[in-house]
Symmetry: C2
Subunit: 188 residues, 2 copies
DNA sequence: ACCTAAATTGACTGATCGTTCCATAAAGGA
DNA sequence: TCCTTTATGGAACGATCAGTCAATTTAGGT
């Protein structure tokens, strides 16, 4: 063997995520990435390929982390509807930092199949977890039967995106909290 | 006098809007603009200054046009709640084309005061028009008194953004229609 | 101590970026 | 017809872009 890796690829990737969240793909330069990730430029290209593949890796990891956080708050409450509420509250509380998923969708639309595929995979996993709790909440009588579980998930995702866009536009915590509360009214 | 202007600046600006909507500011090159606007490169710089000022002009005009369309559907119904519904339906129907306002917010956040100012001005005008109809709908008993009119407007704006992000992510017409319908449930 | 692989550094590539200069053409008013 | 203004096209600007090459340093294993 030879010299062991001196930097943690996941730590570096997290730094790349931060930059991409704030500036998007086109708005981020290789120099910005090198500076934020704390590694040499050559190490960046050796480890992650090129800027585009690094962006894909960043989005992939972001989706996993974000999905895990969603599921954690979703399942952190015994009552299903409280889980849904906790998930919404988490989105409200973390909305100040730009969402890489929303950013990727806005920047590329459906024009990049790789991006669409990464997001679709994350969506599939998270959707299943939420549908389960929506069904449970409906059985508890806490969510209306007028809506299909899939419709509820679609609406929650759209509400999350809306809240995040509002936050990125400068809405303060009070407004964001009101948005989350109002959105949940739709489910009764 | 001399030679009259051979191109319509507003038509050229509309073409610029189309390009910026689809590719954002960073993703749009001067060559793309020249090609789409159908004018010479020098005419572009003579008429609009530079790429950044052209983007601001495009966003400004887009906001005016979009605001007018919103108000038209908002006031196109006698019953206030039907006006709100019509506005939502229009958003759903036009969501396939990317929204320049949402794109600008996602791309720049609050980092560019010029952009924030342009959007804030448009927001102020539209907000007043919607608040008026929300009050009316509340008086009619069609919108709950549990929500302040300002909260309702914030929620509607967030719902619009969420629907537009969903559309940009590839959601089909059926899903978008369901999103609009579900969002309006929050108002009762 | 020696070898080997990993990482860093800085210079460098060709391409593209936004923007400007300049020369030319075209169109209306005098 | 001449003048002024407007528009066009092409060449060129310096700057920045993503990505690469080569030389050097560093840290292990043997």
């Amino acid at each position: 063997m030879a010299r062991t890796k001196a930097f943690d690829a996941e730590v570096a990737l997290d730094a790349a995520i931060s930059v991409f969240r704030e500036h998007g793909f086109e708005g981020t330069s290789a120099d910005m990435l090198v500076g934020a990730m704390g590694i040499g430029r050559q190490s960046l290209y050796d480890t992650f390929g090129d800027k585009w593949r690094l962006y894909q890796a960043a989005l992939q990891r972001y989706n996993v982390l974000e999905g895990n956080a969603h599921v954690a708050s979703l399942r952190g409450q015994t009552r299903a509807v409280d889980g849904l509420r906790a998930m919404m509250e988490r989105v409200v509380e973390t909305a100040r930092s730009a969402c890489l998923g929303v950013g990727a969708i806005c920047e590329f639309g459906s024009s990049k199949p790789e991006i669409a595929k990464i997001n679709a995979a994350a969506d599939r996993v998270l959707r299943a977890a939420i549908v389960e709790r929506v069904r449970e909440a409906q059985a508890d009588g806490d969510v209306t039967m007028d809506l299909q579980p899939g419709e509820v998930v679609d609406f929650l995702f759209a509400a999350f995106a809306g809240i995040r866009v509002a936050a990125r536009g400068g809405a303060d915590a009070v407004r964001l909290e009101a948005l989350g509360r109002t959105a949940l009214r739709a489910l009764y």
